[in-house]
Symmetry: D2
Subunit: 334 residues, 4 copies
C-alpha cells in the first residue's frame, strides 16, 4: 500500500511532482502522459505532455506541455552553472514557443506575478526588472528598432492585498490594449520537497490557474481568459511544512521498510496500516498551533531568489531576442 499523500494536504505546483506521486502505485508509465528525460552538466530536463483526459486525471494536471529543469547544484551559488542553466533554459523556452506556434517575431507580454515585499514571492517582479523591454521603441520609433529584437513589454501587477485589484483584471486590460501574441507569466511556486526549492524551473503552456502559486491570484491567466496563449514559468521558492512531515514519513517507510531490524520493519508495517484518517489528524495536530500560514523557505532565500531571477531573465532575454546571444545573456540583467 502506498501513502496517499493528497490526504496530508500535500500541495505541489510542479507537474513532475504530480507525476511522481501518481507513480507511487508502481506504474512506470501513465497512459496519456508522455515523458522524456535528458540529463547533462548537472541539469535534468524533463519534457512531459499530458495528452488525454485520462492522463490529466491520473496526475491531476491539465492537458498541456510541461518542461522542467532540475539543477540541484544551483544552491551552491556557482555562477558558471547559473550561466549554463540560463543557456539551457533559453534553448528549451525557444523550442517550447516554437512548438506551441508562437512565431519568432510575435510580440509578447511578460507578467511578473507576486509580491515584491515578500522575498520568496518576488520572483516575478524581479524577472520583470531584468527583462529586456522593447515595445516602447516599436511604438515610438518603429523604424529605428534593430533587427533581432522582438517586441516585448512587461508588467508586475502586484498582489490583491496591495492593489485591491485581481492581477487578471490588470493583465486583461493591457492585453486588450497592446495586443501581444502571447503572455509569459512568471510566478513563484510551492514544492512538496525542500530539495526542489530554488533549484527547479518549470515551463508550461497551461497558464496560471486559480489557486496555484503562493500568492493571491484567484482568477486565472489562461488562453480562455486572455484570448492569447499564456506560458507559465514557475520556480518553487517555498514548501509547506506539511510536506516536510510527509517527507519524513516516507523516509521512515523506505528506510525501515525492507532491511531494518525485525521490530522496525514491524513499525512501518503498522504505520502503513493505521487509517488515513488517523494520519491526517496527526498532521493536522502538528500543524494547527502554527496557524494556516505554515509555509517555509530556506534561510538563504534572498540570495537564491536573486540568482534564479537572473537565470530566468537571462534565459528569457536570449530566447525572446535573436540578437541576444546565449553566450552574453547576462549582459542585459543587473
Amino acid at each position: 500500500m502506498q501513502l496517499d499523500l493528497s490526504l496530508y494536504g500535500v500541495r505541489t505546483d510542479l507537474a513532475i511532482e504530480a507525476r511522481e506521486l501518481a507513480a507511487r502505485g508502481g506504474a512506470r508509465t501513465i497512459p496519456g502522459v508522455n515523458e522524456n528525460v535528458e540529463e547533462a552538466d548537472g541539469i535534468t530536463i524533463t519534457r512531459l505532455s499530458v495528452t488525454t483526459a485520462a492522463g490529466s486525471q491520473a496526475i491531476g494536471r491539465s492537458l498541456g506541455n510541461y518542461v522542467t529543469l532540475e539543477v540541484p547544484g544551483l544552491r551552491t551559488g556557482d555562477t558558471g552553472l547559473q550561466q549554463k542553466v540560463a543557456e539551457a533554459f533559453a534553448r528549451e523556452f525557444e523550442e517550447f514557443m516554437a512548438r506551441i506556434g508562437i512565431g519568432k517575431d510575435a510580440p509578447v507580454l511578460i507578467v511578473g506575478l507576486g509580491n515584491w515585499n515578500v522575498t520568496p514571492d518576488s520572483l516575478g517582479p524581479l524577472v520583470v526588472e531584468n527583462a529586456l523591454i522593447t515595445r516602447q521603441f516599436y511604438e515610438l520609433v518603429p523604424d529605428q528598432v534593430s533587427p533581432g529584437y522582438r517586441n516585448v513589454s512587461a508588467i508586475a501587477p502586484g498582489v490583491l492585498g496591495l492593489t485591491g485589484i485581481e492581477s487578471s483584471d490588470i493583465v486583461q486590460g493591457i492585453v486588450e490594449r497592446t495586443k501581444p501574441a502571447a503572455v509569459i507569466a512568471i510566478d513563484a511556486l510551492a514544492s512538496r520537497s525542500l530539495e526542489r526549492v530554488n533549484t527547479t524551473i518549470q515551463i508550461a503552456d497551461i497558464g496560471i490557474h486559480p489557486g496555484s502559486g503562493i500568492g493571491n491570484k484567484r482568477r486565472g491567466l489562461t488562453k480562455e481568459v486572455l484570448g492569447v496563449p499564456c506560458i507559465a514559468i514557475g520556480v518553487p521558492t517555498v514548501c509547506y511544512a506539511s510536506t516536510i512531515v510527509n517527507n519524513v514519513l516516507e523516509m521512515m517507510s523506505s528506510h525501515f521498510g525492507g532491511t531494518g531490524a525485525p521490530h522496525t520493519k514491524r513499525i512501518m508495517g503498522l504505520l502503513n496500516d493505521i487509517s488515513e484518517q488517523e494520519r491526517l489528524s496527526l498532521v493536522k495536530e502538528v500543524l494547527e498551533p502554527l496557524g494556516h500560514d505554515l509555509i517555509v523557505t530556506p534561510k538563504e532565500i534572498d540570495e537564491f531568489i536573486e540568482d534564479i531571477a537572473n537565470v530566468v531573465a537571462s534565459g528569457l532575454n536570449a530566447a525572446l531576442h535573436e540578437a541576444v546571444d546565449p553566450g552574453n545573456v547576462g549582459a542585459y540583467t543587473h
Copy 2:
C-alpha cells in the same frame, strides 16, 4: 522690465509658480484667476481657481482648481510638523473632493506614477505602498466591510522605459474593469526653485497632462481619457539646474537693483538691457556640456521622499476613509 523666464527653459509643474511668474509684470490680480491664501502653523495653503480661458492663458495652466500646501519646515524632519501637515492635507483633500462632487462613499483608484528605482521619482509608488486598500474586501466579502471604509484600490503602473506600456493604457484598462468614481494620481514634479523641492504638495483636478511630471508619461490621465475625474497630487522632488541659474540672475537683479553701489546698479541695468537672445544663449552655454538630463535633487532625497510619501499617504487615508481619524493617520503607513 521683467525677466521673461520661459525663454530660459524654465519648467514648472506648480500652479503657484506659474502664477508668480505671471505676476512679474506687476499684476497683483489676474482676471479669471481666483486666489485665496491662508497661513497657520508654518503651513501656507493657497487655493487657486482658473475660471476663464483668459486666466488660463495668463498663467499657462488649465481651467481648474489648485490647492497648494507650502511647508518650508518639512526639510527639518520634524515628525510633529509632518503630522500637522498630514492633517491639513487630509482636510484640504476631503474638501477638494466634495467641491468637485466626489461622494463620501464613491470608490476611488489611486495611481502611483513614477519609477521606484529612481528615488526622486518614487513618490507615487511609495504612496501606493502606504495607502489603505479595501477594494478586495468589497469584492470578496462585501457584507463584512466595516462602515467608514471607502472602496479604494491602487496601482503603481511603472514607467514606459521599464514596462514598454504607457501608464495611461494600464490605468484605462483598470478603470474600465473596476469602475471607480474617480482616479487619484500621485506624481513627482519639477519645481523652478530648490526651496519648494520636498516642501510643497499640490492638489489639482486637472489630471496628469502629457509631458508634465518628471518621468515618461506621454499620454494623459484626464477625465477625457479615463471617463472619470482625475485628481492629481504632486510634490516637487527635483528642480532643473537652469532654474537655479535663473534664481541667481533674479537675485542679482533684486540685490543690486536698488540700493547698491553706483556701478553695481549700472550692471543690473545693463543685465536687464541685454537681448533675451543673448540671455538664452548664455543659459544654454552653461547647460549644454551637461547634457539633457540636468535635473538635480537635494542630497538628502532618500529621507525627504520617505517623509513626504508618509505625509501624503497618511493624509489620503484619513481623507478617503471616515473611520480613519486625522489623529491616528500615521497608524496605517509603514
Copy 3:
C-alpha cells in the same frame, strides 16, 4: 523513556527550550535553576536563573540570568500588541540592567550582529538602524545633551564572510577606545520549534558565545573577552528542518501514546524502542540530500523581521533613555 533529542542534532539558542528538554525526564524543578513565569496580555514572561554548575550542566546553559518573552500573537501583525510587547520588553530590560548593576547613566554600546543581506539574519543591523544614538553629542557638545538621555553608541559589524574580520575583533577595538560600561548584543537565533520563530525575545547576561546564533561568529562577545558585561538580546528567526522532524516524532508519540487504537499504541511503543542509533541515522537520511544548510524560516520573514526589530528597538530606546516614555517608544524608530 523519553526521546533524547540532542541525538537528533537538535539545536536551540533559547534557555527555555533547553530547560524544556531537560524537563523531559519528568523533573518539574531542576536544582540550581530558578524559574518564575508570569502571563498577562498574551505575553508570557519567564525569568530563569542558572545558579550552580549542576544546574548549568542539567540544562546545558551557562550560569547566568535569562528572561524570555513569548508572544504567539506577534505573528498576526497586530500593532497594538507590538506596542504592548515593546513596553513589557522595556520594563524587563530596565530591571535586568539594574539587577546586574548597570547604572542608569552608564554608557552602553549596542552591537547588531548578523548579515543585513540575509533577511532572517538581519535583526541586529535593523535594531541598530532604529536605536536612538547619542554618544556623538556627549563627545562633541556634552553640555547641550538634554537630561534623560543615556550615552548610547551602536555598530553593526557585519559577518566574517563579508568583512574577513571577526565581529569580536571589531567590537573589542571599539570598546577599548570608547569605554562603554556594557555591551548590548542583538542577534538572530535558531529555535527548535517553528512556533517560537519571530514570537520570542530572550535577554541574557551571558554574552554571545562561539557557535551560537545563526551566522559566523566564532569568537565570543563575553565579559572575559570585552572586559565589560555583555547582555545578549536574541530572537529566534529560523529553525532547523531537523527540529520539525523532531516535532513530528514527538507529536506522534503524544498523539498515539495513550488513547489511540491498539495498533497505533504499539507503533509508538516500538518507535520508542528502536535504538537511538537507528533514529539518528533516520534523521540524517532525511536531511543529507539537502546539504548542511537546512535552515528554514517562514515565508513572511520580511514583515516579521521588520516588526520584531521595531519592537526590540522601541523597547531598548525606552529602557535606555529615561526621557523616552514607554508610551511613545515608537516615535524614535522608522
Copy 4:
C-alpha cells in the same frame, strides 16, 4: 583679475579642480606640482604630484600623489565603457600601490566610508559589498588559499550620526588587531562642477582628512593616525549649489568677456569690478533661504552610484588579486 572662488564658499575634494583654480591666474605650470595627462578611449588620466610645500600651498592640497580618471561618457550607462574604465582603474591602482611601496602580497583593509541610507553617500559601503574578501580564509584555512589572492578585509564603519562613533576610531581598532600593510578608503566626494559628478575617480595617497568628503568624518584616516599608509579612492557624487552659481558667473564672464556687444562687455567688466564682499553677499543671499545643506545631486543618482561602485569594486578586485583578470573583473561583483 580672476574670480577668487574660495570667497564663494567653493568646496572641492578633487586635486585637479584645485589645480584648475590655481591656474586661473594664468600660470600654466606650478612649481612643486608635476602633472602628466593621458587620454585614450574617452578616459582622461591625470597624474599629479605635489612635491614641495610651495606647490602644496599653491593648490591647497597636501604633499602627495593624485591620479584622476575623468570619463564624461560614464553618464550614458554604457556597460562596455564601464568595463574599460574598470580595467584602466585597475592598471592605475596597481601602479599606484607599487609606486608607494605596497607589495603584491601585502594584506590590505578596505574601508567604505559613508552612509548606506543616503544614496549619494553610499559609494563606500557599496564598494565594500562588492569587494572580494579573503582574510577569513587566510585566518582559518591558510594552507588552502589559492595563489594569486591577496589577504583582503573590509569594513563599512557607518557615519557618526548613526553609530555615535568616529569612523577613525573603528578603523584604528581594526588596524591594530588585524595589522594590514595599508588601508584603502573609499569615499563619496563633492565636486565644484556638475559635469564631474559620477564621472570622475580620484586615487590619492594622502588618506582621508578631517572635513573632506560629504559625510561626518571629523578625524582623519591618515598614516599618522593609522600607522600604515592610507590610499583614498574618491568619486564626486554631489556638488554644492553654490558651485553652480559660480559656474554661471564664470560662463557669463567667458561668454560676454571678449566678443559680446559693447554693453555686455561692459557688464562683465563691471561684474569683475564689484567688490568681493558684494559678490559673497550675493551668493549668500541666494543660498540662505535654503539652509546649510544646499548640496545637490543628479536625479539619476541611484543608477549612477550603482554603476560607479561596480566600476571601482571591479577595478579594485583586479588590482588587488593577481588571479583576478582585468578581463573578468565583473565576475566578482553583483
